[in-house]
C-alpha cells in the first residue's frame, strides 16, 4: 500500500456535546508530565509524535509549513510501522485459518 501522506480535511474529534462540559475528560497520571500540549485545543499528549499527528489530523489548516512537514514525516513513519503490523496480522490470520482447518480435519 503506497503511503499517501495525509488528507486535507479530516473530521474533528467528536468528544464534544457532553452535557457537563466542565468535566475533565483528560487525566494525566501523577508521575508523568505531558510531552506537549496542543496549542489549538489544549489537549495534552504523552509523546511528541502523537501531538504532531493530532495537530495534523485535527488542525491541519492552522499549521505552518514546518509543522505540516513534521506531520507528513511522522505520518509516513507510522505508515511503515503499520505495514509491519499488517504483515503480522496477516500471519496470525493465516495461522488461525490453517490451524482451524487442520483441527477440523483431525476432529471430524
Amino acid at each position: 500500500m503506497e503511503s499517501e501522506p495525509f488528507h486535507r480535511s479530516t473530521p474533528n474529534l467528536r468528544l464534544v456535546n457532553y452535557p457537563s462540559m466542565s468535566e475533565t475528560w483528560c487525566e494525566i497520571p501523577p508521575d508523568e508530565s505531558p510531552a506537549g500540549t496542543c496549542e489549538y485545543c489544549g489537549q495534552p499528549y504523552p509523546t511528541q509524535n502523537r501531538l504532531i499527528l493530532h495537530k495534523g489530523v485535527e488542525h491541519l489548516q492552522q499549521l505552518d509549513a514546518d509543522e505540516q512537514d513534521a506531520f507528513t514525516a511522522t505520518y509516513s513513519d507510522e505508515e511503515a510501522e503499520l505495514r509491519t503490523f499488517r504483515l503480522k496480522a496477516l500471519g496470525v490470520l493465516v495461522l488461525l485459518y490453517f490451524g482451524f482447518l487442520i483441527t477440523y480435519v483431525i476432529v471430524t
Partner: protein, 501 residues
C-alpha cells in the same frame, strides 16, 4: 488540567471539498480491494460456521414461553465455541487493515436522502399512540376475562411476541417506532405533568433498575403463562409510569427513567433508518453507534450492558446447565421454602452476573488506557466504546427471539382478529432446522457489527492509527468472551427454569 476536547469546526470551502472528494475517491479505490478481501474472508468464515452447524444447535427461547428441545452438537463443543470466538477475533484483525481515516469516516457518515416528516409527525404520533392505548386497554381487559391459556391469550402474545420479540427487531432492523406508538405517552398527555424537576444526577439509573426489575418479574412471576398475572403487572407498570411522568414531566421521564423507551432508543441506534431534528434518513446499520451523543453517562453504559446481560441470563436459565446450576444453589441454601430459596438464587444470579458483565466491560476501558498510554480518561473511553454493545445485544435478541416470533406470530394474528374469543388451539409453527443455524449467524453478525463500529470509534478518538488499533484489543477480548458465552448457551440443551411452575 481541564481540557474540554476541541470544539471548533472548520468551514469547508468548495475547493477543499473537491480536494477531499478526490482524496476520498482515491482512498476508496485503495481500500476497496482490502475491504473486498476482508468481506470475502468473513463471508467464507461465516459460511463455514453456518454449514458446519446447520441443524445442530437450536435457539434459546423466551423464558418459559416456548421451549424448544435442542439437538446435541455434531462436533465437539470446544471446537464450535472456539470457532465462534476466532471468527470475531479474525474479523477484528481484518478490520485493522482498514486504516484510512477518511474512508472509515465516509462509511460511518454515509446517509441517503433525508426527508422530513416533522409537519406530519404530530398526527402520526397521535394516531399511533392512541391505537397503542386501545391495544393496552384491550390487552389488560382480555387478560382478566379471556382464556387463561398463554398461546391463546392476546395479553401474553401481545406482550411477549409483540413487544418483547417483534418491536425490538423492528427497532434495530428498521427504525425505532416506539416513540410513535408508546401508549403511556398518550395517557400521560391527559394529566398535568412536571410537578417537580427530574433530579439530573440520577441520569438513566432508574431505567437500568427498571430494566433489571422487568427481567426479574419476567423470570420470577408467571407472567408468560397466566394472563391474569401479566395484566396485573401491566397495570402496575402503567401506574408507575403515569405517576413518574406526572411528577417529573413527560419528556424527562420517558427519556431517562422509562426502561422500555430507553431500551427502544438504544436498539433503534443500531438501525439503518434514523430520525433526528432534520428528518428521516437512511444510514449504514450501526453507523449511528459512533455518535458521541448516544452515551453521555455511566448509567447509559450500564443500560447497554444490561441489554446484553438480560438476554444472556434468560438464555442461560432456560438450558439444562442453567437449571442444574440453579438447583445446585437452591440445594446449598437451607432456610425457607423451596420457592423462596429459588427466587433468591434467581435474583442473586441476575444481579451478580450483571455486575461481572459490567465489571468486565469497565475494566477493558482501564486496560485500554494503560495499553495506549493515552491521557483520555478511562470513563470517556468506556463511554465511546459502549454503543457497539447495542449491536451485540441486537444480535443476541435476534438469535433468541426469531424462533418465538415465527412460531407464535400466527397465534398473535388470530388473537388480534378475535381478541375476546380466540381459538383455544391456535396455529403454532415449528421453525425448520436451519433456523437454529440462523441464530448462531445472528450472534456472530451482531459481534461483527460491534467490531466494525468500535473500529470507527477508535479512529475518531485517536489521531495515531497504531494507537487506534491498539486501543481496541481489550474490547475485542471482551467481545470474544461475550461471543463464547452466548454461543455456549445456544449449544446447550433446553429446559424449563426449575421451581417456577
Amino acid at each position: 488540567m481541564s481540557s474540554s476536547p476541541n470544539t471548533e469546526t472548520k468551514p469547508d470551502s468548495p475547493t477543499e471539498d473537491r480536494t477531499t472528494s478526490t482524496l476520498i475517491g482515491r482512498c476508496v479505490d485503495r481500500c476497496t480491494a482490502s475491504i473486498r478481501g476482508a468481506f470475502l474472508l468473513q463471508f467464507g468464515l461465516w459460511l463455514t460456521a453456518i454449514l458446519l452447524f446447520t441443524e445442530t444447535v437450536a435457539a434459546a427461547n423466551g423464558v418459559a414461553l416456548a421451549n424448544a428441545s435442542r439437538d446435541p452438537l455434531d462436533i465437539p463443543q470446544w471446537l464450535y465455541i472456539s470457532t465462534g470466538g476466532a471468527t470475531v477475533g479474525a474479523s477484528a484483525l481484518l478490520a485493522t487493515f482498514v486504516t484510512d481515516r477518511v474512508y472509515i469516516r465516509s462509511l460511518h457518515t454515509w446517509s441517503l436522502s433525508r426527508f422530513t416528516v416533522e409537519n406530519r409527525w404530530q398526527t402520526i404520533g397521535w394516531i399511533g399512540r392512541w391505537c397503542g392505548v386501545c391495544l393496552l386497554v384491550l390487552a389488560v381487559y382480555v387478560g382478566f376475562t379471556g382464556p387463561q391459556l398463554p398461546n391463546a391469550s392476546l395479553t401474553v402474545l401481545l406482550t411477549f411476541v409483540g413487544i418483547r420479540a417483534v418491536l425490538p427487531m423492528v427497532a434495530y432492523l428498521g427504525g425505532n417506532l416506539w416513540p410513535a406508538i408508546n401508549p403511556w405517552r398518550a395517557l400521560v398527555s391527559k394529566f398535568p405533568t412536571g410537578i417537580r424537576t427530574y433530579p439530573e444526577q440520577v441520569e438513566r439509573w432508574p431505567a437500568v433498575a427498571g430494566l433489571l426489575l422487568l427481567v426479574w418479574v419476567e423470570v420470577v412471576f408467571p407472567v408468560s403463562t397466566i394472563p391474569r398475572v401479566l395484566s396485573m403487572v401491566i397495570i402496575g407498570y402503567t401506574a408507575v409510569t403515569i405517576v413518574g411522568a406526572v411528577l417529573f414531566g413527560s419528556d424527562p421521564w420517558f427519556t431517562n427513567a422509562d426502561p422500555l423507551s430507553v431500551l427502544f432508543r438504544f436498539y433503534g441506534a443500531v438501525a439503518p433508518i434514523q430520525r433526528d431534528s432534520e428528518g428521516i434518513s437512511v444510514k449504514l446499520p450501526g453507523s449511528e453507534l459512533t455518535d458521541s451523543d448516544l452515551i453521555t453517562d455511566t448509567s447509559d453504559v450500564a443500560f447497554v450492558v444490561a441489554l446484553v446481560w438480560e438476554l444472556t441470563y434468560s438464555g442461560f436459565i432456560t438450558t439444562q446447565a442453567g437449571a442444574s446450576t440453579i438447583e445446585a444453589f437452591v440445594g446449598l441454601l437451607s432456610y425457607g421454602g423451596v420457592q423462596a430459596r429459588a427466587i433468591i438464587v434467581y435474583t442473586v444470579l441476575l444481579v451478580s452476573g450483571y455486575i461481572v458483565f459490567f465489571g468486565a466491560y469497565w475494566y477493558a476501558g482501564t486496560v485500554t488506557r494503560r495499553l495506549t498510554g493515552t491521557y483520555l480518561s478511562a470513563r470517556l473511553i468506556a463511554f465511546r466504546f459502549a454503543p457497539p454493545l447495542a449491536a451485540i445485544a441486537a444480535g443476541y435478541h435476534l438469535a433468541h427471539y426469531t424462533g418465538l416470533a415465527v412460531s407464535l406470530g400466527p397465534a398473535l394474528g388470530m388473537a388480534l382478529s378475535s381478541p375476546l374469543s380466540p381459538p383455544a388451539n391456535p396455529l403454532t409453527l415449528s421453525p425448520p432446522g436451519w433456523f437454529n443455524a440462523l441464530s448462531i449467524a445472528f450472534v456472530l453478525v451482531g459481534h461483527l457489527l460491534a467490531i466494525w463500529t468500535a473500529h470507527g470509534t477508535a479512529y475518531e478518538l485517536f489521531s495515531s492509527r497504531l494507537v487506534a488499533i491498539r486501543s481496541q484489543y481489550p474490547y475485542i477480548l471482551v467481545m470474544i468472551g461475550y461471543t463464547v458465552i452466548s454461543l455456549w448457551i445456544l449449544s446447550l440443551p433446553g429446559a424449563l427454569p426449575p421451581y417456577l411452575s
